[in-house]
C-alpha cells in the first residue's frame, strides 16, 4: 500500500492564496466574479422549471381542446 502523510498546516484563505501568488486585487476580483457568475448561471440553468412546466401543461390542455378546430383549419388550407 502506498504511504500517506497527515497535513497539519492550516487551510489558507483566498486572500492569502492571492497574495502568495502575487495576483493584483483587480486580478483576484476578476477571478472571483468569473467563478461566481458562471456558478450562478449554471444554477439558473439547472433550477427546476416550475413555471415553464405549468405552461407546457396548459398548452397541452389547450391543444386537446383546440384539436378539431385545427383539423378543420388544415382541411380548409388543403382545399385552398
Amino acid at each position: 500500500m502506498a504511504h500517506s502523510v497527515i497535513i497539519t498546516t492550516p487551510m489558507p484563505t483566498l486572500d492569502e492564496i492571492g497574495k502568495e501568488l502575487g495576483l493584483t486585487r483587480a486580478e483576484q476580483d476578476f477571478l472571483i466574479r468569473l467563478v461566481d457568475e458562471k456558478g450562478s448561471r449554471r444554477r439558473e440553468v439547472h433550477a427546476p422549471k416550475s413555471r415553464s412546466a405549468s405552461s407546457r401543461t396548459t398548452k397541452t390542455v389547450a391543444n386537446k381542446k383546440a384539436g378539431p378546430a385545427r383539423k378543420t383549419r388544415n382541411r380548409a388550407t388543403a382545399s385552398a
Binding site: M1, A2, H3, S4, V5, I6, I7, T8, T9, P10, M11, P12, T13, L14, D15, I17, G18, E20, L21, G22, L23, E27, Q28, F30, L31, I32, L34, V35, D36, K38, G39, R42
Partner: protein
Amino acid sequence: MPPQALEFSEKSVFLNIPYDDRFRRLYLAYITGLIHLGLKPRATIEIPGGRNRLDKILELIRSCRYSIHDLSRVELDRTPPTTPRFNMPFELGLAVASAKLDPTPHDWFVFESVHRRASKSLSDLSGTDPNIHHGTVEGVMRELCNAFVRQSQNEQVSVAKMLKTYREVSRLVEDIQRKTRARSVFDSSTFQQIYFAAGRAAGIPQTR
C-alpha cells in the same frame, strides 16, 4: 549578488507531470484536488527557460515539503525522433536525492495509471507502492485523498466535492486563458489564476 533562495513551504507540493494537451484534464484534477487539501501546487512551468534551469528546478523541489511524480506518460512521443520523456523520472530522482540528503523534510509520491508498470520501467523503485489513478480525474482525486490526509476531522474532503470544483474550474479555463492571453493552460500565469479560481470554486473563505 547571489539569487535569493526560495523559501521552504510546509504546504507546497512540487507537481511533476507532463505539460501537454493530452494531460490537461488530469492537470486540472491535480490543481483542484490539492487546493481542497489546503496544499499549494508548484510546477516547473513557473520557471522561465534559459540558463540555470536545472538549478532552479532543484531549488523549487527543495522548497516544497512534498512532491508528486506522475509517471503515467512513459510511452514514446510522436514527434521525430521518437523518444520517451525523461523529465519526470529525472525530477523524481532529484526529489529522492533531496529527501535523502537535505535536512529539510520531503515526502515524495509516485502516481501511475497502470498497476506494476512503474516497477518494470523503473525497477529502482521496487519497494515503493505507486498511487494508481487509472488515468482518470476521479482516480487522481481518490489517490490524492489517500496520500494526503488532513489532521482535523472537520477539514476532511471528499472526492465528490473535488469533482464538483473540477467541473466548475473546467468551464472557466477558456475565460482565464483569454484574460491572460496565454496560448496554453500550462502557461505560468494561467496556472496561477486557475489555482486561485479553483480556491474560490472550492468555497475557500476569503478571510479568516
